[in-house]
Each structure stands twice: as structure tokens, then as C-alpha cells.
């Protein structure tokens, strides 16, 4: 229960912003400090009876794998809906992009909304 923010109820939508996500996360008031933390909040929200959603860039999947494999899987907590910005450009995103399908194969998110990078556009 929020003491000071004056909200009726916060949405069960947690994550870390990304430039390609900004149009999709306009309804979010507070951003998490890491993607793994967002996954932890989502687990708590699910235990509280909510249907949470998380959003992140593909690089956030690397940070999330730990909690997926050590909490979600062994405790059989359903994974939240994932809003994923699959970055490919510029080049510093390339290696995570190359392995994003592997990360998704390991994590087994069932509901994914993807935002793909457009060819050669860097922002």
C-alpha cells in the first residue's frame, strides 16, 4: 500500500526503460533498478493474486535468467507477460541480439510482445 504517492493502485507492470519501449510504458510511474528486481516484484505480485507484466530490452534477459532458473522454475511460478525490445543496432547490441532466441528458449516465456529494431536505425 502506497503511503505518499496518492495512487489508487499501481499497475503490476515492472521493468527497466529502453528507448524502443518508451511508447509502451507511458502508464508506468516507478521504474525498477534492474530487470532481475522487476522479475522479483512480478513474482511477489503473482503471489498476491495479480497477473503481472515485465518489460525490458533483450540484454535484461541475461540479468533475469538467474531468478528465472532459481525461483520461477523450481517454485513453479508462472512467468509474467514479457514486453521485449529486441535490440540489434547499433553494434553494441549485436551479441545479445545474436543469442536472444537462445535466452528465450531457456526462459520459456509464454506470452511475449516483441518490438524489433528496424534495419540500420540506431535509436
Amino acid at each position: 500500500m502506497l503511503e505518499s504517492m496518492g495512487w489508487v493502485e499501481m499497475k503490476a507492470k515492472f521493468g527497466v526503460p529502453g528507448s524502443k519501449l518508451k511508447e509502451k510504458i507511458k502508464d508506468v510511474e516507478i521504474y525498477c533498478t534492474s530487470e532481475e528486481e522487476a522479475m522479483a516484484l512480478a513474482a511477489g505480485a503473482w503471489l498476491a493474486g495479480k497477473q503481472p507484466e515485465v518489460y525490458m530490452q533483450n540484454t535484461g534477459l541475461c540479468r533475469s535468467l538467474n531468478i528465472i532458473l532459481t525461483l520461477y522454475k523450481p517454485y513453479k511460478i508462472p512467468l509474467p507477460k514479457l514486453l521485449l525490445s529486441n535490440r540489434k543496432y547499433p553494434f553494441h547490441h549485436y551479441y545479445v541480439w545474436k543469442y536472444t532466441e537462445d535466452l528465450l528458449r531457456i526462459s520459456k516465456f509464454k506470452k511475449i510482445e516483441r518490438i524489433e529494431d528496424e534495419e540500420n536505425k540506431s535509436n
Binding site: M1, L2, E3, S4, M5, E9, M10, A12, F14, I30, C32, T33, S34, E36, E37, A38, M39, A40, L41, A42, A43, G44, A45, W46, L47, A48, G49, K50, P52, N66, I67, T70, L71, P74, Y75, K76, I77
Partner: protein, 155 residues
């Protein structure tokens, strides 16, 4: 104070609060001192207990108590910052600080270089190692989840 004594004192006062605990000896000792379906033992994920507690406290009126070690707090200090940002009135954080990774060999942690209370409102209890080691929790993770989920969502 010995860690198990601190845990006994905390759990003696617990009524219908939800309790989330960090991996290692803290979860094990909470289990052996006072197991109840309202306890959620995080067995393997360092740094997740507080995030789970925040997720619970955001959507429930019920009070949530998160009990973690200094190593657990340090691995995800960001969650203490988020806690301070949200200021949830039904969330209490207790850090049992022995300045070490006691559950995996007693190696010193860096908790002596920080005052957790400057990051967020929390209770920090300085503890020393318990005199005896309690066994592992004989519950499967799924069992811990299912009974905890049911205690919140039934009715």
C-alpha cells in the same frame, strides 16, 4: 546476539504477517523456529526476497516482513533504494548483519562499509553465528509456493 535468538524474537511477535526470507541459514532457522504457510523461504535466489516482498506489499493490505542477511542486501542494493522510493507502509525490512557470508564459509562481506539505514527505513540487527546448525528445509520449493499462494488467495 546469536542469529537464531534474533530470529526467535522476531518470529515470537509475528501474528498473521507474511514473512519472506533470504537463502541460507536465515530461511533454515526461520523454518525451524516457526514454520507456517505464511512464510516464503527463498532458497536459491540471492537478492530476490526484498523484491518479492515489495511485489506482495504493493497489492495486499496485509503486512509483509522481509528478513534478509547482509550479503543478500548487498547483492541487490537497488531494491533498498526502490523500497525507499515507494515507502510502503505495510512493508518491514529486517537485515540480520553478521558482516559475512556465513552460510557458505564465513567469508567477510563489505557490510561494514555501509549503513543500510541510510538507504531505506529498515531494522539492522548485528548478529553472530548461532551455536548449532539447523538442518535444511524439508519442503520442496513448489510446496512452499503453493501453501503461501493459497493462504493469500483462498477465500
Amino acid at each position: 546476539m546469536k542469529r537464531i535468538k534474533a530470529i526467535r524474537e522476531i518470529m515470537k511477535k509475528v501474528k498473521d504477517e507474511l514473512v519472506v526470507t533470504s537463502p541460507g541459514m536465515i530461511s533454515r532457522e526461520v523454518y525451524w523456529v516457526k514454520d507456517r504457510p505464511e512464510n516464503f523461504y527463498v532458497l536459491g535466489t540471492m537478492g530476490a526476497a526484498l523484491g518479492i516482498g515489495i511485489g506482495l506489499a504493493l497489492f495486499l493490505e496485509r503486512k509483509v516482513i522481509v528478513i534478509i542477511g547482509d550479503g543478500d542486501a548487498l547483492i541487490n542494493l537497488g531494491s533498498l533504494v526502490l523500497m525507499n522510493k515507494l515507502k510502503l507502509k505495510n512493508l518491514e525490512l529486517i537485515i540480520l548483519d553478521n558482516n559475512s557470508y556465513q552460510s557458505c564459509g564465513g567469508q567477510p562481506s563489505c557490510s561494514d562499509a555501509i549503513d543500510f539505514k541510510k538507504i531505506c527505513k529498515c531494522k539492522v540487527i548485528r548478529v553472530s553465528e548461532s551455536d548449532f546448525q539447523v538442518p535444511r528445509i524439508p519442503l520442496k520449493p513448489e510446496e512452499i509456493m503453493r501453501r503461501f499462494y493459497n493462504v493469500i488467495n483462498r477465500a
